[in-house]
């Protein structure tokens, strides 16, 4: 198992956003998380990537614990250095890309491998150029983010996350901030990664994409996982009334 989350609880000022959620992701799996806004799917992803701290529950990456429920029922995180170890296993792609506007495309990609992972610059540079080729952006290496379209920026952000060689890559609504005609180029890249057996968790509103690319679809609503399974099952033959309702609204 690459990621194991169990019994995750998270509230914001009395509002329960995640109610006892459990999620496991195995190597090579592509998991899509769908659901109405406010269902807690983004929060789940932010908890998995430690941008939010969980109130209770357990998180493990590659079997290594990151947080566990302590004696008082509250989640206790491991030490700073242990957490940094665990952080190496995942990468994150944001809805708003969050590229560093004052750095070139190449520097955006190379900074973390060189400064955080302390890998040799030449090696990282070669890898970064290879990633840019894969993203079809090899001629934009010296451009600044503001000179790129939203779709191009998001592809740079994916390259930046991949440069750290994560075992699992999270996407937080990767196409929601894009114009409709630009979503295709980003989805194509994710599809390509899926074919290469990259382990991924994608929070998305793109239903056809989720159905076509993922091995498993999770439908969340009001802080719980309502239904999950094979995409053909969930989309073609939903078991839960809430799922049926949600998918019907989406098809209109």
């Amino acid at each position: 198992m690459i990621l194991e989350m169990s019994g995750i609880q998270k509230s914001f000022g009395g509002l329960e956003v995640l109610k006892d959620i459990s999620l496991e992701v195995d190597s090579g799996e592509v998991v899509s998380v769908i659901g109405p806004s406010g269902s807690g799917k983004s929060t789940l992803l932010r908890c998995a990537t430690f941008l939010e701290t969980i109130d209770a529950g357990e998180i493990r990456y590659m079997g290594k614990p990151a947080a566990a429920t302590g004696s008082q029922g509250k989640a206790v995180y491991v030490s700073h250095s242990e957490l940094n170890e665990v952080k190496r296993y995942f990468g994150l792609v944001f809805q708003q890309f969050n590229l560093f506007p004052h750095f070139s495309v190449l520097r955006n990609i190379m900074d973390a491998p060189v400064f955080v992972q302390k890998r040799p610059k030449e090696e990282v540079h070669a890898e970064a150029m290879e990633l840019l080729r894969k993203m079809n952006l090899e001629n934009r290496a010296d451009a600044y983010p503001c000179q790129l379209s939203g779709g191009q920026q998001q592809r740079v952000a994916i390259a930046r996350a991949l440069a750290l060689k994560p075992s699992i890559l999270f996407f937080d609504e990767p196409t929601s901030a894009l114009d409709p005609e630009l979503t295709g180029e980003v989805l194509k890249v994710i599809r390509q990664l899926a074919e290469e057996k990259m382990t991924m968790v994608v929070v998305t509103h793109e239903m056809p994409f989720a159905r076509a690319v993922s091995n498993r679809v999770i439908f969340m609503d009001r802080g719980v996982i309502v239904e999950q399974g094979d995409p053909e099952e969930v989309f073609g033959n939903p078991k839960q009334e809430r799922t049926v309702q949600f998918l019907r609204n989406y098809q209109r």
Binding site: T49, F94, Q96, N98, F100, Y144, P145
Partner: protein, 508 residues
């Protein structure tokens, strides 16, 4: 195209500066022919002062007596920083009379047209030296020296020289030795003939020479420190100066803070009023020469400019450093909840600095914080202005940090950078770029704010302008020149800063 339009803008601004200066230059033609011709003398005795406004120098005995004097039935008392300012106001019809010490009154009346001294003196008074309370050893020595110098005629030689312009005056005997160290004399060198700057930029006068003679007699080197009149007593009381000598009259109020020696001279407070007389005309060029060329006064102005620039540059440097640290402490607390104690200190610091006047901060740092420490005044000023500007800069930088999207912090963290690294590599560079215009503005503010350095007797550009004014009896020329130099400095700086801004903007 773009270059062309920016050149045109520079030209337009220079044109405006030129026009403004020309306007100022033209102004004295009207101001110069001030009311002196129209107003005939209306005050002939103390009884005529009823219903009039009288000017005095703040903190002088004239001020003290006249403020308590109900018999005169004055309309009001105007207090000025120097006697010269009061006399100038009188000649410009702003007030009706000036109460001032007899000797400087004679000097002023001799220099300026249309003024006269009333025959009846206002009050008689004894001048003495001030020493720190309880310093009986020094008090005894000074009394002994005064007695001896009165005895051997030295005092009379000095008085003759400065008042009757006769004789050679006093100069230290050849081979005079000062084995006992140094005495600092606090004075206000705008009070001829007691103490004033001569054409060689040295402080001379009855008090100055007598102090030197006393020093020679007692074996001390005397260093004269020029300051505002109302700072002299404080300086002596806090031990910044060993004695004060500035035509100081013995009053009960003063005796509560310091001790007085036996009087060395008896002076009179007299009343200066206007009489009818034609104002003297002078061409602009003569006036310019008199203010800046004569006695090489432009050199003073230049050194004042240097002092202003040194204080401003160093204060900006340290201000930015302080601002940086405080801004990072405060935003780290806001973002992560850490650094609680430091955050409280930083908040108190910004609140106090932003909540009190800069002049008060400067005076507190000089007279309270460094009261008993011997430290160059320029360093005191740099400390005060750095602390002051640091508080404002910290808020500027903090607003820059807060303006950066939260996603940038999250991106940094998700890539494995810790908080400090994220701050340093990703947040601060962007934040700084956003606040460049505001930082330039703060520098301009600071440059002009340093003009209060004169409060602790630093000869910055403003103070030099004021010193020139006190010597040439011309307010217009030195003050407008100083104003134009500030304007030019700000203009040049704003242009340079604009170039920097443009360059940063182009770099994405």
């Amino acid at each position: 195209m773009k270059k062309h339009s920016s050149m045109r803008r520079t030209f337009a601004v220079l044109l405006i500066i030129g026009l403004v200066s020309a306007m100022f230059m033209a102004l004295p033609v009207f101001a110069g022919s001030d009311g002196t011709e129209k107003s005939a003398q209306t005050i002939f005795g103390l009884e005529d002062l009823e219903g009039k406004i009288v000017g005095v120098q703040t903190g002088t005995t004239g001020d003290i007596y006249i403020s308590d004097d109900a018999e005169l039935k004055l309309k009001g008392v105007e207090r000025y920083n120097t006697g010269f300012e009061a006399v100038q106001a009188l000649s410009q019809n702003k007030i009706d009379a000036v109460v001032i010490d007899d000797q400087p009154a004679q000097a002023f009346v001799a220099q300026m047209n249309g003024l006269t001294i009333l025959d009846t003196e206002y009050v008689k008074e004894d001048y003495a030296m001030a020493v720190q309370k309880g310093n009986t050893e020094l008090l005894g020595k000074l009394n002994e020296a005064i007695a001896a110098l009165q005895e051997n005629g030295t005092l009379q030689t000095i008085v003759d020289y400065y008042i009757d312009h006769s004789g050679e005056g006093y100069s230290s005997p050849k081979g005079a030795e000062h084995p006992n160290g140094k005495l600092v004399m606090a004075t206000n060198a705008e009070f001829p003939p007691y103490e004033y700057y001569d054409d060689n930029n040295e402080i001379v006068g009855i008090d100055a020479d007598l102090a030197m003679a006393i020093g020679d007699y007692l074996g001390y080197e005397v260093e004269i420190s020029d300051m505002k009149f109302d700072s002299i007593i404080t300086s002596v009381a806090t031990g910044k100066a060993q004695f004060g000598m500035a035509g100081l009259t013995v009053t009960e109020e003063r005796e509560q803070s310091i001790d007085f020696t036996n009087p060395y001279y008896t002076g009179k407070q007299v009343v200066i009023v206007r009489k009818s007389a034609g104002a003297q005309r002078e061409t602009i060029i003569d006036r310019f020469k008199r203010n800046f060329v004569q006695a090489g006064r432009w050199k003073m102005l230049l050194s004042g400019l240097g002092v202003t620039l040194v204080i401003t540059l160093f204060s900006t440097l340290f201000g930015v450093l302080i601002g940086f640290v405080v801004a990072i402490i405060r935003s780290t607390h806001d973002k992560t909840g850490g650094l609680r104690i430091l955050n409280i200190i930083a908040q108190v610091y910004t609140t106090v600095i932003r909540g009190t006047p800069t002049v008060v901060q400067l005076l507190i740092i000089y007279y309270v914080v460094f009261a008993s420490v011997n430290i160059p005044k320029i360093i005191v000023a740099v400390i005060a202005f750095s602390m002051n500007s640091g508080a404002y800069i910290s808020e500027i930088i903090r607003s820059g940090i807060m303006s950066i999207d939260e996603g940038q912090f999250e991106a940094g963290r998700s890539l494995g950078f810790n908080y400090a690294q994220t701050m340093r590599y990703f947040i601060l560079p962007q934040a700084l770029k956003n606040v460049i215009p505001a930082l330039g503005n703060e520098f301009i503010t600071l440059l002009k704010e340093t003009s209060i350095s004169g409060y602790i007797a630093i000869n910055d550009m403003t103070k030099v302008g004021d010193v020139i004014r006190s010597r040439t009896y011309d307010a217009f020329m030195p003050l407008v020149t100083v104003a134009l130099v500030y304007l030019l400095l700000v203009f040049i700086f704003a242009r340079l800063w604009g170039v920097l801004e443009g360059r940063l903007r182009r770099n994405g």
